[in-house]
Amino acid sequence: MTDSEEWVEGEAVVASALGLHVRPARIVWERARRFSSDIRIRKGRRDYDVKSIFDIMALDASRGTALTVRAKGDDARRAVAVLVALIGTDLDAES
């Protein structure tokens, strides 16, 4: 069977200097929207929908926070890889 029935997961560590505040949250959200998969971030016991910018900010994810990116769908593997890398980039360093 295809990947699309299983959750693909990857670990990310927030690298943005000021955490996932509005600017990085928006960058992550904009990128996530381009994938067709259902994409979540797990922190602790809760899942947050990466396609909701409110959910990303509800994470209260400061620099160094470890998160699990989970995706299910046809492009799940790519979605996880791309978003793990993006969250692990200091998005505040961009001017």
């Binding site: 200097a17 000021l18 955490g19 996932l20 505040h21 509005v22 600017r23 949250a25 928006r26 602790g44 809760r46 909701s52 910018i53 409110f54 959910d55 990303i56 900010m57 509800a58 994470l59 209260d60 994810a61 400061s62 620099r63």
Partner: protein, 158 residues
């Protein structure tokens, strides 16, 4: 962090009169001055800082909400204000829709923690479509305050 600790009840307005984004921000900053949270002397500078940040990318994050904010050395602790516009304001929001609820935040320069916490609190409440709708349709400031108090009770931390 409770929303009613973050947002100064005495500064809030359920009737934003401004119709342009820049004027809405100035109106909310003036509300903080009137409530004794900011000195009149720094109002212009704070407003400018918020507009500069807004120019980097709209804080209209969809669902009729905007979170304009800036760091400013004149504040020792994060301070916030909430305004409701009945008619809606063009904030160049990410969903192209007008903004009806504006949460303004002014933070001290070196405290990313409280700023992030404030965004978390606001986001947790506004993810709930009921609260979002109730806030938007509040009769008056008293009702806005009640709703925030109820949100503080309902949405405790993890």
């Amino acid at each position: 962090m409770r929303l009613l600790d973050l947002v100064v009840a005495g500064a809030m307005t359920a009737e934003l009169t401004a119709v342009e984004k820049e004027d809405v921000i100035a109106e909310l900053v003036d509300g903080l001055v009137a409530a004794g949270q900011l000195s009149k002397r720094v109002a212009k500078s704070v407003t400018k800082a918020i507009l500069d940040r807004e120019a980097l990318g709209s804080t209209g994050i969809g669902g009729g909400i905007a979170v304009p904010h800036a760091k400013h050395p004149s504040v020792k602790n994060i301070v916030g204000n909430l305004g409701r516009s009945r008619k809606g304001v063009n904030f160049a929001a990410i969903d192209g829709e007008p903004v009806y609820l504006v949460f303004l935040l002014v933070s001290p320069p070196d405290q990313p923690g409280p700023h992030l916490k404030a965004l978390e609190r606001i986001s947790v409440v506004l993810r709930d479509e009921n609260f979002s709708r109730f806030l938007r349709r509040a009769k008056d400031r008293d009702e806005l305050v009640s709703l925030l108090a109820e949100a503080d009770e309902t949405f405790r931390g993890d």
